[in-house]
Amino acid sequence: MKKGSGMRIKTLFLLVAMYIVAQTIVAQEGILDDLRPRFVGLTKPQTDSLLKEGIKKIFSNPDLYNDLFRNHVEKLKSSGDRRYTFIRDLNLNFKSFQSDTLPVSLGFDYNYSNSWVKSRINESSTFMQSYNLLFKGNVAFRKRYNPNDFLEFLIAFDNSFLWGGQVAELDEETSIKMEELQDTILERRQRKDPSFLALYDELAGYISVTDQFALGIKGKFAFESNQDFSKKQFAPGLLITGGAKGWNKHEALRYFNILDYPFALIRLITGTDKKFTVYGATFPSMLFGIDYVIPQDDTTRKRLTGDLDAYSRLRFEIGFKTRVARIGREVLHFSSDFRWYKELKADRAIKDNHLDRSPFFVAAIESTSGLFVSYTTGRLPFDRRNDQVYALGFKYDLSNRND
């Protein structure tokens, strides 16, 4: 299991790297041949130096690789290749990493997940059970420049309990009236008649819904490593997740969503919302868990403690996403996530080196067209240092949007 999964991930990285190198070496030679005759009056070393600098800039741009990979996916899709379904579901995103004073490094992140679900449901609550498979991580082509050096492979058994979120039942006549009102709104929108907005208040009167609460209990078995697998460990554990949604506009729950208050103000100031509105849908979600970590290869840990004994680790996470503003056709979202790992009964040497705690925080503002700016601080398990990473970029979709 350990060797097999590690080998498969290594093989995947190798294939991606080989594909990129094969594509770009040919392209680099072609560009060099085209440009050489244009440098008239310069010595050969000067020409070569300028060319190398130019080529380095072009080929360190992640957009180039995203385009290449997207073309490859499109080719697989059009040829009906069976690998297309897997590659389509494997969300692969090339990007550049920048950490503290280290140079910019090219790399990619990947994320694949799949699940098998069965459920039991009654009138007041829902109980869902699922088996999940996940692998994800960040890979820098120059490993030492990777600020988020953490890969994860996970199998989990998930139990979710839901209460509320029930819409009041409409009779046939009222339901038809509601759908006719929806049709009227769409017709007015198509005619560019601004009166359509006022009809939304009337539409809201048809939908009466209760607030919703969720509790999840998950047993999981995870394999964690850094990108060259020089550090790896198994981490079986138990997770409890909790969430709430203040769907009912007449109930107080949504007003406890204090994280949304500054954004409600921004939405009001920018005219995104016509009045100060705290979203009940953006309540932060929380997770609390305990892992039993079984280190396999961890030279840092072995050097500090003299062994690779298993240990217990607490984990806490809170995630939040909301709308910031609409500017023309662009919608800006703010999303953030805080994670905190704490080793229980850690050795003195681990504590002295501040390896018993791993706080990690990321915040980003992203537009619907793909532009994003993000800030990351702290470290995930395996990182030796606290990194502060700023990123500015453009997200490409390698998906089947046009299917």
Binding site: D89, S113, S115, V117, S119, I121, T126, M128, S130, N132, K136, L154, A156, S160, L162, G165, V167, A168, L170, M178, E179, Q182, L186, R189, L197, Y200, L203, Y206, I207, V209, Q212, A214, G216, L239, T241, G243, W247, T272, Y279, A281, T282, S285, M286, L287, E317, G319, F320, K321, R329, V331, S335, S336, D337, R339, V362, D397, S399, N400, R401, D403
Partner: protein, 122 residues
């Protein structure tokens, strides 16, 4: 299936997304179909898979209740409430899946009024 105002399932999903603040009221119907899950408010791409799954399940359960109780849709043959919620959840967990693709899943799980009429006419 196309994303079109001729289908009740597309319209029901569009208004359900607006009613749950996943998209704002100024998002045009035509634009909504090509939006991806990552563009919706429930999908926090920086959060762990565990938190995202919970958010997707909550929203799918809310949609199910709205389709059945407000639109008076019925489940397709051999489809149940758990199956519908699970199918929606699985698609909603994938960042790059579109709203149009979600409407396809919903169409496969529910029979809306316009579909029932068509079948009766036939």
């Amino acid at each position: 299936m196309a994303w079109t105002t001729d289908k009740r399932v597309c319209k029901a999903l569009y208004f359900a997304l607006q009613g749950t603040d996943q998209i704002d009221l100024l998002t045009e119907f035509e634009d909504a179909g090509s939006m991806v899950m990552e563009d919706l408010l429930f999908f926090n791409s920086h959060a762990s898979e565990d938190l995202r799954r919970q958010e997707a399940i909550i929203l799918a359960s809310r949609f199910d209740s709205q389709f059945i109780k407000a639109h008076r849709a019925r489940y397709e043959k051999d489809v149940s409430r758990p199956g519908s919620i699970a199918a929606m959840t699985e698609l909603m967990m994938q960042a790059e899946k579109t709203v149009e693709e979600l409407s396809d899943i919903i169409d496969a799980c529910y029979k809306f009024r316009d579909e029932k009429r068509k079948r009766n006419e036939n």
